[in-house]
């Protein structure tokens, strides 16, 4: 039915998200950099000065390796969830395929992600870790993570049209996830019997692989990579299927 230019539509929607978010912000895109830096400083202070050992020089970098994936996941999954309702003014007016709204929302968060990854890589290089060949794995693991988030965005946004509480469920889940992802503690602190469960959590798996690649200079563990691959594709499949099943009722419930 709709035969338009998908790339043009999605890039216009991404531009819309980006502009409408930053138009009235004095610091603009700087917020993308400030947020992780502030969190990193606070967590470093608490866990080296109050709880941990003050000598841990790597702690800020390790925290940043955790914060960047977590921030992306939390913000992209939440804005994906609300993407349909936020674009209700368009859904009510234009018969454009509904899938483009969660996709554009996740992609516009990828712009912030690029800025934050830039910050992280700059910090890694500045603090003397240097570039290594395993950095080539970064696009692969991030592509899988984005696929995972896209799947969740499809699922959550469609359900959120019918049950508006979904948004708050996602918010609460993200708050809990902050503690369950090894952001401010290292993976080795997790008791052995829980480690397998952690590896099936794509956010935790990503944090783990980021540290392996950036701090240890090693390729990611293949078992973890396989789990991430599996979970990402399955989530995307389920999300897309549910979205497809529910999309015919969007007009009535929005």
């Amino acid at each position: 039915m709709w035969s338009g230019d998908y790339r043009f539509v999605i890039s216009s929607l991404v531009a819309k998200d980006f502009k409408s978010r930053y138009r009235n912000m004095s610091l603009g895109v700087l917020w993308s950099l400030l947020n992780p830096l502030i969190m990193m400083s606070v967590l470093t202070f608490i866990f080296t000065q109050i709880f941990g050992n003050p000598g841990d020089k790597d702690y800020p970098l390790a925290v940043l390796c955790g914060l960047v994936p977590f921030n992306f996941f939390a913000i992209a999954s939440l804005s994906g969830t609300t993407s349909l309702l936020e674009n209700s003014f368009l859904i009510k007016k234009v018969p454009v395929p509904r899938q483009i709204f969660p996709v554009a929302s996740v992609l516009s968060n990828c712009l912030h992600l690029l800025i934050q990854i830039g910050l992280l890589l700059a910090a890694i290089v500045i603090f003397g870790r240097g570039v290594n060949i395993n950095w080539l794995w970064l696009p692969v693991i991030w592509a899988l993570e984005i696929l995972f988030v896209l799947g969740l965005a499809f699922l959550y946004s469609a359900v959120n049209v019918y049950v508006r509480d979904t948004r708050y469920v996602v918010e609460s889940a993200n708050t809990i996830l902050f503690w369950l992802v090894p952001i401010f503690y290292s993976f080795s602190r997790i008791p052995a019997q829980y480690q397998a469960v952690y590896q099936f959590n794509p956010v935790a798996a990503l944090v783990l692989m980021m540290r392996t690649i950036l701090l240890e200079g090693q390729p990611p563990h293949l078992g973890t990579l396989r789990n991430l691959l599996l979970v990402s594709f399955v989530t995307f499949g389920i999300g897309y299927f549910v979205f497809h099943k529910l999309k015919n009722g969007f007009y009535e419930y929005i």
Partner: protein, 252 residues
């Protein structure tokens, strides 16, 4: 020739609970699944619109006119029956159609054109023409929330007509602009029709219907009362209204 728009036995109903997006509502609907508490907006509607023809939809408030347009525009999906639309549709259904208040007129223009299915190149080629037609001037670089409702309509109409659709769907939007812009709209729509394009048009103004459409359908409480020549349908409709009023007066 294949029809531009064809409705075959189309019915559309809404659950009465619409607007309450609660888990409980959905569960009880799944479990109970009674169809009785549905509000039927359209009942077994069939009609066709051929290329080069224009069709008016008339009827009193709540007759199902806007529902019919939203189905024809591909926004909602019918519960029964089939709808075929061949050609590119530009629908101007209500005011403010698809504009973001924080974006400027120019940014909204690009977003809208993209959503209507235009390529980036075509949009850039057309944007000057659209802005000029709208007569908005320098306001095009101001955010939409600073626009008056007349200016919003000007921009929306300019985008729709200049993207060169095969069918224009209009839902009583022309009444908003000032008289000079209304004249401009009518001229543009007349040119559009002369180019062999079609209008699907909801209106309460008989003069407008006579002027712009050769065919009309009359809806009443979701039922198709009459389909045919615009003049005949208008006469029947005003006759029906007069009868209803008489009956009402007698009842009092």
């Amino acid at each position: 020739m294949a029809p531009l728009v064809e409705f075959q036995n189309v019915s559309k109903w809404f659950p009465h609970t619409t607007g309450r997006a609660l888990l409980r509502t959905h569960i009880t609907r799944w479990l109970g699944a009674s169809r009785k508490d549905n509000f039927v907006a359209l009942k077994h509607i069939s009609f066709r619109l051929d290329p080069g023809e224009s069709l008016a939809v008339i009827g009193s408030n709540g007759a199902g006119k806007s529902t019919l347009l939203s189905l024809a525009a591909g926004l909602a999906v019918p519960n029964e029956g089939t709808i075929a639309v061949n050609g590119r549709v530009a629908a101007l259904l209500e005011l403010g159609s698809g504009f973001h208040p924080d974006l400027t007129g120019a940014e909204n223009l690009i977003l809208n054109a993209a959503l209507l299915g235009l390529s980036r190149k075509k949009t850039m080629d057309l944007s000057e023409k659209i802005v000029e037609f709208s007569g908005i001037g320098d306001f095009i670089n101001e955010p939409l929330r600073t626009y008056s409702s007349g200016m919003v309509m000007r921009l929306a109409f300019s985008i729709s007509i200049n993207t060169d659709p095969d069918i224009m769907m209009l839902d009583e939007v022309l009444a908003v602009g000032d008289s000079s812009f209304q004249t401009k709209c009518h001229d543009a729509l007349a040119d559009f029709q002369r180019a062999g394009k079609s209008l699907l048009f909801v209106s309460h103004a008989p003069a407008q219907v006579r002027e712009m459409c050769e065919k009309a359908i009359w809806l009443d409480h979701g039922e198709l009362m009459m389909e045919g020549d615009a003049e005949a349908v208008l006469d029947a409709y005003s006759g029906g209204m007069a009868l209803k009023q008489q009956a009402g007066n007698q009842a009092i």
